[in-house]
Amino acid sequence: MSLPQDEIDHYKRNLPRAFAAPLSLRLRRGTLALGFAALVAWCLYAFGFSPERIWNGLGRLGRVLGFMFPPHIWTDPEDIADIAKGLGETLAMAFLGTLLGALVAFPLSFLGAKNINRFTPLRFGVRRGFDVIRALETLIVALVFIRAFGLGPLAGVLAIAVGEVGVLAKLFAEAIENTAEKPQEGVVAAGGSRPQAIRIGLMPQIWPVLLSITLYNFESNVRTGTILGIVGAGGIGFLLSDRIGAYRWGEAWSIIFLIIILVYVIDWLSARIRARFIGKWEGVR
């Protein structure tokens, strides 16, 4: 069942776009593809991606990885106390930083939510404020705070808290904007005031989302906290950078394993907490 050629020609005349894109469009696509390929090639050249360097690097990487096994096990009680203190400090920094950030972000998020703050200039200003905070990487904030508050966990906690305000306020505001209007309408129609509508009609909708976001950020901050330690803001990261600097790779790897286990445990724990609050839990009152 083949079409007669004149019918095909008829369609080609009337619907040329169904057969091929116009020449200008094909040219533009071709130019873009070429430009993209040139950019990639230049980047590879500029950063010295030569097969020889990659090969030599892989050899050294293999030696470093070789220190993983057997894992170093600390026997000196003083060493064990040091490591435990470092891990605990990182965990505590992440916990306190996330909590402080969430406490400040919660009220701010209402100012940034379209369905609560209908005064556009204020909402716009608050939102841009969140953006500015987020634009500052936590690591940079930490470097500044170490100058201001001195070396140690205090600078780390404050750096995490400040960073979290920007992130959590934005995410909380979006959670508030994503709520259904109808429960609030029900409250207002029954004679409820606007604060009552927000408290009763809106907040029950956002609790699980807020909890979920905050728990995830806590977990993420445990990882961030490790890096903050490397620049001197306390925690396990300091011990890690110390061991790497001294070429004690066996110990460094064991610290990395402990960090992975810590993050895994937190992930498991937050999944349990989330399930408890979001699942079939009925003890609402």
């Binding site: 429960p183 029900g186 207002v188 129609a189 029954a190 009763i200 009609g201 029950p204 909708q205 009925e282």
Partner: protein, 270 residues
Amino acid sequence: MLLEVRNVSRVFGAKTAVDRMSFTLDKPGFLGIIGRSGAGKSTFLRLVNRLTGASGGEIRFRGKNVLALRGAEMRAWQSQCAMIFQQFNLVPRMDVASNVLHGLLNRRSTLATMFSLWSDADIHRALEILDRLGIAEQAAKRAEALSGGQQQRVAIARALMQDPAIILADEPIASLDPMNAQIVMDSLRRIHDEDGRTVIANLHTLDTARRYCDRVIGMRDGRIVFDGRPDQLSAAVAREIYGANEHFSEAATSTSIDVLEPGDAELLPA
């Protein structure tokens, strides 16, 4: 005079949703408003409850113009005229009893309501009302765990908790299956018969209106095109309300409730 609606209009941009509507209700009744989607039925109920502002006119309840009320006075009026919605508008993550207690929001201190602090007497009354609607055993469940018909009965319970003079029901059965639609309409009718509360219900179809209402108002394009007893709803009136299309008018006269077979009544709670 219980309720006096005079020249009430509501304009949304270029569209006039409610166009100089007028009618009076001199004693408590069960009033049905019928019409196609977009005829202005919902907008009218929302005007009465003050969820939407009017563009003009007056709605007088026992002589007082409720459209002029502001702030606390307006909220007091809202608590007197309870509203029931097509989508129930409950707080899904809260338990049934709490949702019913929300009918008291205007009568209890803001602080207490913010922390869900209700007296035992209030909780007892909420349970009594739920029992009257046959769903007391669901009181501790989350609202979202209930079926649509049960949720609508929770919404009716919340309305009763407000001890309202008027109950406004905006398409109360449009999202429900035939059996639940009948339970909900029967409940509303019983509330009118037993408590003497006025019910104004927006209904899609002639047949539900014929079956439950003492008086029917037909709306088309924001205007009242029929106002009379249900037995006056002739085929000609249906065409006037639902449009010239004969087929459509006929379809509109049969309701979901008609689908029930006579024997199904035994399945319904007494």
